[in-house]
């Protein structure tokens, strides 16, 4: 099973409309809408709800003043860091100042969402409009402040230095280098944009004093802790379930969202089921964005293109708040190095507040920006020296014999940035072959003769995946022979029900059909971190494998007694424990499950049949021996010492229209290494989706804020995500260098596809046009402008 392209078991449900998302639940629930700030920066002078009181079906209106102390304070800052000297988070409802368009100010509960919105429209908020701070460059050092107590709007500032082996600093190394270049790069804002927005549905059971919350989240266990703490409920009385979730891409790992605590609070207070379903406009202005950075690069290199020193200074736009810490710029700073050995490196970032939607990780989480920086640098070096772009990369690659390779920095998990395994030169060779790098010159010349403009581009990345601290798995075999697998992290459509079942099938020797997988349900598994950082397969996959091994060991032990054999001579095949080489000497796992639980009565046929084996327990020993537990089940955790590093290299051929400046991606090739593949079909699906999002970031998506802080394209009419028609066919080749860090030898694959795409497309457009491409995304209108400005 492991390694096979098994079809996704969740697809029939999800593709035929039988998925159950938060908005499908709570049919009779009261519904919530919010009055959100129409201003980017304003002081609330007064809130007048009197006109809304008469709306038929109105149940409650809450402002900040109505909140209990635990909800009135700013929401938690999830990942503090010493460099984040001025971390700031929002309150669930604004108290006095609003800092971006879309910030929640008033919560309205009504019989349905229509009526709630009618009431919202009648609530008058009197604002004193303040001047907003828009754009990181204008924010940095400005006297106009997003937060009064954050001077210069700088929330965090961090310098990391890695001297060369000889102890030279980056600036010195650049100064002494035979060649130097300096330039600036710009990357725009985009966002996760899951098709299903956020959503919360809370059921308060007054008789039982318990609360059940459904949330469209990437981390139900953490939402549970947050809700219990904020509402002052005992943890065992709160359960949080992530039902089917229509995409996350990072935005749903943020927690608790204001709505995630407000909706349960209202449910308890009103004694009713209450739900909130985010609409698209809310998602644009009230969730999170990512990507925006300005980068200043200085690089020194030798005649072969070897980088001797690299200095990058980053201005990172963090939006109005920093609830998720500074994970994104830290990842940019560290993952920028990619598969390369850089002589000496200095990276400095300032994370600045602006009056825009806050920034939290979006698939890739800072890596696309880092890779854009490094790969644009590689292309610049090649152009400067007049040598092939892949040759420059080749000259800088870490070699297979050099693993584990220590980049000398601290990664986002607080652990040293040590690459565990990889084969970068081979990956580059495979990519050149796949895309036809060496023969592209002829193709380009032939096209040019027909008046067509083609360009080829390349981009490489290394991705730290599977960050800790841990995940767990629980595996139970019931007396019907079925295997129930659960893990605490959540699914947003990745195919966990399939790959985790494949792992269990392989470890336990049970057919796939008999295995069911549950994720993100705290009733089934209470300890978890969540789904992000390409960690689900690595973390839960290994934990489930380890749990299965416990179950297997126990099954063999019990079966050995029944079959009067040595456990070492047993195997499990097709759900039966068999004595190797002795046909007929076997016992079904179902029977073993019955035997594992010494009850004196039976409920089903299997249990009845099992009684023929029972009765062997010695009369002077307890029926459940010391150190044993009833039941055929196992629980285990996987906690890695550090992240495992996946890698990949992409290439694209683009065509630019000489007249209309339209940009079309003709071919897209991917060489991908995520260690051992659990399911190549699912990995390819992840890559396809990632590349599609990458094409969005490279050519289409941007958040257009005007100088007043209004988001001008807060709808799918004007925020352009590529359709299938804009995505080229994607050719994929796999390379498998197993990770030595985990039992299954796997690395994460979830984010990979998106990471280098902007860099690759920029590289290809630059090749087609002969004009430096320094920013992403690039629209035809901008390419037209670049052409006109070119000398």
């Amino acid at each position: 099973m492991f390694g096979e392209p098994v079809r996704r078991r969740e697809d029939p449900r999800l593709l035929t409309g039988r998925g159950r998302y938060v908005d499908d639940l709570g049919a009779g629930a009261l519904e919530v809408a919010f009055v959100r700030s129409p201003h980017a920066h304003a002081r609330i002078r007064d809130i007048d709800v009197s006109a809304a009181i008469d709306v038929d079906g109105l149940v409650a209106i809450y402002t900040w003043e109505d909140l209990p102390a635990s909800l009135a304070e700013p929401l938690p800052l999830l990942i503090p860091h010493p460099a984040l000297t001025h971390g700031r988070t929002a309150r669930p409802l604004a108290r006095d100042v609003v800092r971006h368009v879309g910030e929640p100010v008033v919560m309205v509960v009504a019989r349905d969402r229509y009526l709630a919105e009618d009431a919202c429209a009648l609530i008058r908020v009197d604002y004193e409009v303040l001047r907003p701070v828009i754009g990181p460059e204008r924010a940095a050092g400005s006297r106009r402040l997003v937060h009064d107590d954050v001077p210069g709007n700088v929330g965090a500032h961090l310098v990391q230095e890695v001297p060369s082996a000889a102890g030279t600093g980056a600036r010195e190394a650049i100064g002494a280098a035979p060649h130097t270049l300096a330039f600036r790069l710009d990357i725009e804002r985009s966002a996760s944009m899951p098709l299903e927005g956020r959503g919360v549905c809370a059921r308060w059971d007054a008789d039982d004093g318990s609360l059940r919350v459904y949330s469209s989240t990437q981390t139900s266990t953490s939402v549970r802790m947050a809700v219990a703490a904020k509402l002052g409920l005992p943890l065992p009385k709160v359960e949080v379930i992530a039902p089917d979730v229509g995409g996350g891409f990072g935005v749903k790992v943020m927690h608790p969202w204001p709505e995630e605590v407000l909706v349960p609070w209202a449910a308890v207070r009103l004694g009713r089921e209450v739900k909130w379903t985010e609409d698209r406009r809310e998602h644009f202005v009230s969730s999170a964005h990512e990507r925006a950075q300005v980068q200043f690069v200085r690089v020194g290199f030798d005649g072969e293109g070897r980088v001797l020193g690299l200095e990058v200074t980053i201005l990172h736009d963090h939006g109005a708040y920093t609830p998720y810490g500074i994970i994104v710029p830290i990842i940019t700073s560290t993952q920028l190095l990619g598969p390369y050995k850089i002589g000496a490196y200095r990276v400095e970032f300032s994370s600045v507040y602006t009056n825009t939607v806050q920034v939290t990780p979006y698939r890739g989480a800072g890596r696309p920006q880092g890779v854009f920086c490094m790969e644009r640098t590689m292309d610049r070096i090649a152009r400067h020296l007049g040598i092939d772009r892949t040759a420059v990369r080749e000259a800088n690659l870490i070699q297979p014999g050099e693993f584990p390779y220590d980049q000398g920095m601290t990664f986002q998990d607080g652990r040293p940035l040590i690459y565990d395994s990889g084969d970068y030169p081979r990956s580059l060779r495979m990519l050149r072959e796949l895309i036809g790098w060496d023969s592209f010159g002829e193709l380009k010349a032939r096209a040019a003769a027909e008046g067509r403009r083609l360009g080829i581009g390349v981009g490489c990345y290394v991705e730290g995946t599977g960050v800790g601290p841990y995940e767990g798995g629980h595996v139970q075999v019931t007396s019907d022979g079925r295997v129930h697998v659960s893990t605490g992290l959540t699914s947003q459509g990745q195919g966990h029900e399939t790959v985790f079942a494949q792992i269990a099938a392989t470890e336990l020797g049970v057919p796939l059909e008999r295995i069911s997988v549950v994720t993100g349900d705290t009733r089934r598994f209470g300890y978890a971190v969540g789904t992000f950082a390409s960690r689900a397969a690595v973390m839960s996959g290994n934990a489930i494998a380890l749990a299965c091994r416990k179950v297997r060991e126990k099954a063999l032990r019990i079966a050995a007694g029944v079959l009067e054999a040595d456990p070492r001579d047993l195997e499990i095949v097709d759900g039966e424990v068999r004595v190797v080489g002795a046909p007929g000497a076997s016992v079904p796992l179902a029977t073993v499950a019955v035997l594992s639980n010494p009850l004196r009565y039976a409920f089903d046929e299997e249990a009845a049949r099992a009684t023929q084996f029972a009765g062997a327990s010695p009369p002077d020993a307890p029926p459940v021996a010391e150190g044993e537990e009833p039941g055929l089940e196992g629980r285990d955790y996987y906690s890695p010492i550090r992240s495992t590093f996946a890698s990949g290299m992409h290439a694209a051929i683009v065509e630019t229209d000489p007249l209309t400046a339209e940009i079309r991606v003709l071919r897209y090739a991917v060489v991908h290494d995520c260690g051992r593949l659990i399911n190549p079909m699912i990995v390819e699906g992840q890559i396809h989706g990632g590349v599609a999002q990458g094409v969005g970031g490279a050519l289409y998506e941007r958040m257009v804020y005007d100088e007043h802080g209004q988001l001008l394209n807060a709808s799918f009419m004007d925020f352009l995500m590529p359709y299938a028609t804009e995505i080229p066919p994607i050719e994929t080749a796999h390379l498998e260098t197993p990770s030595p860090l985990n039992p299954l030898g796997i690395k994460g694959a979830g984010e990979a596809g998106v990471i280098p795409v902007s860099a690759v497309i920029a590289s290809a457009v630059e090749d087609a046009e002969g004009i430096p491409i320094d920013r992403m995304p690039l629209s035809p209108s901008e390419l037209f402008d670049l052409r006109r400005a070119a000398p």
Partner: protein
């Protein structure tokens, strides 16, 4: 994104619809395919007190093809007109334009007449109606009038249809002999409203020289405007006519605006490129067919 409250009317005959529209006046809105109106309601950009749903008026679904051209009833969907063989034979530009309108799901609901009344300067069909010199038939209680395209589009999202009027049909005239048409556009993504688009019509005389060459540009001003470039391309055979000069004339005579997707200069440039392509194709068709 839920609409504000409104009264919903679902008339069973055109007469009943006209009665309701007469009674509701400025406070009423006709609901046809809903592909533009429903989003506006949901975003609370429109707040009519009454919505008059005409989807049960099957008498308005007819598409008739006659010697004078194609008449589409108010309930004729984009998809229905796009797929009709007789329509394509009588006025091929309709199918060409409709294939550029949005996506199949939207074309299954959206109506040709609704698109005209909606009068979006970025839409294809108003350009087609203008280029062909068509008209829209408006009915109110006790009166019917035909408004020619040149007077129908009065501003961005504004048409000559009064609040108490129902647009019951539109006429897209057939082409005279030795004529050809083409429609070219550039959109950011497949099916998007165009950044720029050009519908062109060329008529040749008996000597197969260009007798008339006209274009209408999409997204090039507040209302679709006919640009006559007959004089610019020269009274010559299609192969030797100066389409470049005609395209330059188009570029100079339009007034596109900048938005977040494209600068005005780029739009102007595109209109020129597309005008040349469209005029050439239209002339080729005129000469060949």
């Amino acid at each position: 994104m839920k609409p504000p409250p409104f009264d919903y009317h679902s008339p069973r005959s055109v007469g009943e619809a006209l009665e309701i529209l007469a009674a509701t006046g400025r406070d009423g809105k006709v609901l046809a395919g809903g592909q533009s109106l429903i989003p506006m309601l949901n975003m609370r950009l429109a707040a009519p007190g009454h919505v008059v749903d005409i989807n049960r008026l099957t008498e308005l679904a007819a598409v008739t093809v006659g010697p004078d051209g194609v008449r589409t009833g108010a309930l004729a969907r984009h998809a229905q007109v796009e797929r009709s063989g007789p329509v394509a034979a009588a006025q091929p530009l309709l199918r060409r334009a409709l294939r550029l309108v949005a996506h199949p799901a939207i074309r299954n609901r959206g109506t040709v007449v609704g698109s005209l009344v909606h009068a979006d300067p970025a839409a294809e069909l108003p350009a087609v109606l203008t280029l062909l010199g068509g008209s829209v038939r408006l009915a109110r209680r006790g009166a019917v009038r035909d408004v020619p395209a040149a007077r129908f589009f009065t501003g961005p999202l504004e048409s000559a249809a009064e609040p108490d009027e129902l647009a019951v049909s539109a006429l897209f005239p057939a082409l005279p002999p030795r004529s050809g048409t083409a429609f070219h556009e550039v959109a950011r993504r497949h099916g998007d409203y165009a950044l720029a688009g050009v519908a062109a019509r060329v008529r040749l005389d008996d000597d197969l020289r260009v007798a008339a060459a006209e274009v209408v540009c999409v997204n090039a001003g507040p209302v679709p405007e006919l640009v006559d470039v007959t004089g610019d391309c020269g009274h010559r055979a299609p192969g030797t006519a100066d389409w470049g000069a005609a395209a330059r004339a188009v570029r100079d005579r339009i007034d596109p605006e900048a938005d977040i997707h494209a600068s005005a200069a780029y739009r102007r440039h595109l209109a020129g490129v597309l005008a040349e392509r469209a005029l050439r194709d239209a002339a080729t068709e005129a000469a060949g067919g």
